[in-house]
Amino acid sequence: MNDVTSIALIPLLPLAGFLLLGLLGRSVSGRVAGVLATLLMAGASALALVVAWHYFFRDQAAGNAYLPQVIWQASWLPFSGGLGINVGILADPISVMMLVVVTFVSLMVHVFSLGYMHGEERLPAYYAFLGLFTFSMLGLVLSPNLLQTYIFWELVGLSSYLLIGFYFQRPAAVAAAKKAFIVTRFADLGFLVGILILAFCGNSLDIGTLLDRLTNTQAPQYAAATTASFAGITALTWGLTLVFVGGAGKSAMFPLHIWLPDAMEGPTPVSALIHAATMVVAGVYLVARLFPLYSINNASLLVVTAVGSFSALLAALIACTQTDIKRILAYSTMSQIGYMLFSLGVARYGGEQAAGFTASLFHLFTHAFFKSLLFLCAGAIIHRVHSNEVKDMGGLRRRMPVTHLCFLVACLAISGIPPFAGFFSKEQILHAAYADHKLVYATGLITSGLTAFYMFRLYFLIFWNQPSRQEDGHREGTLSMLVPLGILAACSLLAGLIPFGRFVSADGRPASGSSDWTFALAPVLLAAAAILVAERMYRRPSPWPQRLAERLGGLYRAARRKFYMDELYLFITKRIIFPWIGRPAAWIDRNVVDGLMNGIAAATQRISYWIRAMQSGRVQQYALFFFGGVLALAWVLIYVWQN
């Protein structure tokens, strides 16, 4: 069953949706477009499930290890010397897992959108963009070639741009889209240079070949890559770190995270799909994809760990102070991705030490469900109250019981309360961190507590807190909105039970997924305590939050202003790059370089004006010049120049 057609069809179906809807444009109604796109997506999703089933249970199980296999590839852009972009399809545990996650969440989002986006303008475009995104994301996860990864990496960036800016008449949406694209582009620069370094170190762009060559200590490429190059750092470290910069940009890691909260200007289902479940974890995916390389390079792993853990903590802190429901979720996403990354950072290749790897991807897997669920719930709520601010909500549990329930499930999952999905993955991560480095573990633990706190803060603020003001009765969303919520809630509940390590591990061999229950006690208790605190503070309107904020003073204000990161960036761009680099460049061009060209012309004119006295109109002066010329020429020819 795992033939080329079926697996290739998975990305191609959304692509077909994109092309169809893009070309038909306004000639189809929004409803038709939605249904068409959803059907195509359903097909893709079903195929993905089948493919995954075949991969994990049929074809590969026999060998005791899930080997990566390139199912199909073709030369797309050949370079010289064996390099070249080969477009292809790679099937390995990670990509197949991602296949499932992406198609599944995408399908949920499609379905949800049917109700949520009903009545909006430009729906065909919306679904087309969704299709484009899904296609790109699938292309990204299936890529066997570094530059193919880069290609789709850019394409997901584009679709993210298009979808964030979907409400293009809102200046904030436009600005957010721009910001998202530019910040990730900046990171992609690192990615690109990283690719260049790695590709020329290993003399290949093919990921498999590259991994083989650079991890093989006997290979000449390995020796070249691990000797110090620029600034005393090995080429491998440079390459991996720069690649990670790309990943950090896409995954909104500190300090490149600033685009993610703003990206919430897009339609909420989009946030669920792109900015919660799939695209933002591309960084994790990237590191995981190149994990064998990272695992032999401690320096770059350290960077990954540091960035991941710091981002996780930072985002959690900020999330505690925000009041925009989607932004809180966005910071929570950032925090969770930080988790996944430091989990990768603490892992090593193979064996017991590789637990972090599995845990990370496990968390990625579970997070996709509960975070998209959270976003979709938020969407349903926003759909109802027409506001993103939590202060406009409150007491919604009666009016939106289904949503309430789903949201609660998701909150529990993300807080790591057993037996919800998040518990399992998070526990594994903390375990791995504990095994590696206590500081990382401590960070993770604190973050875990904070997570529970801010999630339940949100939960209580939305659903409890104040009595509902709107007395217009039951207004739950449409069925198309509720069904995805339900399904995702179920997933959030159950996904943790999957023996994930059996399928996905660093070396392809099944890892023991056994949880150490006693170890899990600390985080769970911490989470429970945090939930209690949140309950005390936010279940009813109380002065406590205010007092606490005052007590914390500067820290609170800094966190509320997102630690002034936006201001810093604005300062750098608006106050440094534009006026001090761009403007001088433009000025120099107009005045110095062009001035030089014009100056030559002006000088010629000037000389022309100066020498006009020669042509004075006096015929005798002409004769004098004539005669002088003769004498001078005679002098030169007779006396000066002796050949």
């Binding site: 006009r612 042509q615 004075s616 109109g617 006096r618 015929v619 005798q620 004769a623 004098l624 005669f627």
Partner: protein
């Protein structure tokens, strides 16, 4: 015997007297006179060369004759032009006809 160079010196001196006149006189007719001096100096040259250096042929003599003839023609046309200029400008001072310049 007078050395040839002395004759040449005379003619050259005459030539440059003519040149000086041509460069400094302001009346057009005096300019014309200076031109005649220049031509005369050339004539002296030709005759002297012919007589003292290349007496076999009469090239120099004939050249002189033709120069004299042409000098006449040139003077005639020049005077006609000067008269016309006098009519239009009311002056034959060379400094007065400077409409065309730069």
């Amino acid at each position: 015997m007078i050395p040839l160079s002395h004759i040449l010196a005379v003619s050259t001196a005459l030539f440059f007297i003519g040149v000086y006149g041509l460069l400094t006189r302001r009346n057009l007719i005096t300019l014309l006179m200076s031109v005649e001096l220049i031509l005369n100096s050339v004539n002296i040259n030709f005759v002297a060369f012919n007589k003292y250096l290349f007496p076999e042929r009469l090239d120099g003599l004939f050249f002189t004759l033709f120069i004299i003839a042409i000098a006449a023609a040139e003077a005639a046309v020049a005077i006609a032009i000067v008269i016309n200029l006098y009519r239009s400008h009311g002056s034959i001072d060379v400094e007065d006809s400077r409409d065309l310049k730069y």
